[in-house]
Symmetry: none
Subunit: 137 residues, 2 copies
DNA sequence: AGAAATTTGTCCGTATGTATC
DNA sequence: AGATACATACGGACAAATTTC
């Protein structure tokens, strides 16, 4: 049971399987996925592993999850996909240092800096936006 | 990615960063820290490392963790504080919302937004620069 | 209207294997 | 060899939102 992580990890395999069912129409848009507890039984994986798999689908924009309700398949508006606002909370990107940051970090202007943006919401309302800059390590 | 721990270990650096955010008011007393899973994403560290960092804050009495709920910042009654050795500059200003922030906060462009900047240093070197935006109330 | 069951969210502790300093 | 850190995985427990009875 422990962790033979040769090759592909289990949560990825499970995500693949679920994705296939969604795209194959077995789990139609708008309907709920089986509860996490059902999925642990079916795949004989721990809940954490199941949740990792679902997290992948959520990042891909295939599903959305609501506390106390479940995870449902998004009614796919595929034309607009892939761009912006998948609603993920943490975004990282590499920017180049402006004069201010360069001076602080004691690097040249234009040097690579990692920017992390965290958007925190409560009840779908944005409460704060935090951007953290640090040097790559 | 693996383990260049020149000087101070990762979990200590992360603890310092979180402490600075707390003392800088970015994470106000009474509010919850981001979940372990969010912190692993933001700092790109493993769960074990994040948990070590939070353990430090807990030992310092800065935070308390409730099982199943989260880790919140304690309402610090003893402001004797003595200003820890790792320094941080905090600066607050009012800016006007650009298109991006306006959209997130659902306000008009140009609306007032409070920006808090925390510069954390360890041994006179800037470790991170964090800017937090929130609405006035 | 209220209690119970369901379901997701989060934390706890532990374990294994890999890799680097 | 030991400390640090990563990724993966398990099982358990409590918290909170939603649904069902």
């Amino acid at each position: 049971m422990p962790t033979p992580h040769y090759g592909q990890p289990r949560y990825r395999a499970i995500a693949d399987e679920l994705r296939n069912r969604i795209e194959g129409g077995i789990i139609p848009p708008g309907t709920l996925l089986p509860a996490e507890s059902k999925l642990t039984a079916e795949f004989r994986a721990s809940r954490g592993t199941i949740r990792q798999a679902i997290a992948i689908l959520r990042e891909e924009g295939l599903t959305a999850t609501e506390h106390g309700r479940g995870t449902y398949v998004k009614t796919d508006m595929r034309s607009s996909s892939a761009h912006r606002q998948t609603g993920s909370d943490v975004q990282q990107s590499i920017i180049s240092a402006d004069a201010y940051l360069a001076a602080l970090f004691q690097v040249d202007m234009g040097a690579e800096i990692i920017e992390t943006e965290v958007i925190s919401r409560t009840a779908d309302k944005v409460v704060s936006v935090t951007r953290t800059y640090r040097l790559p390590r």
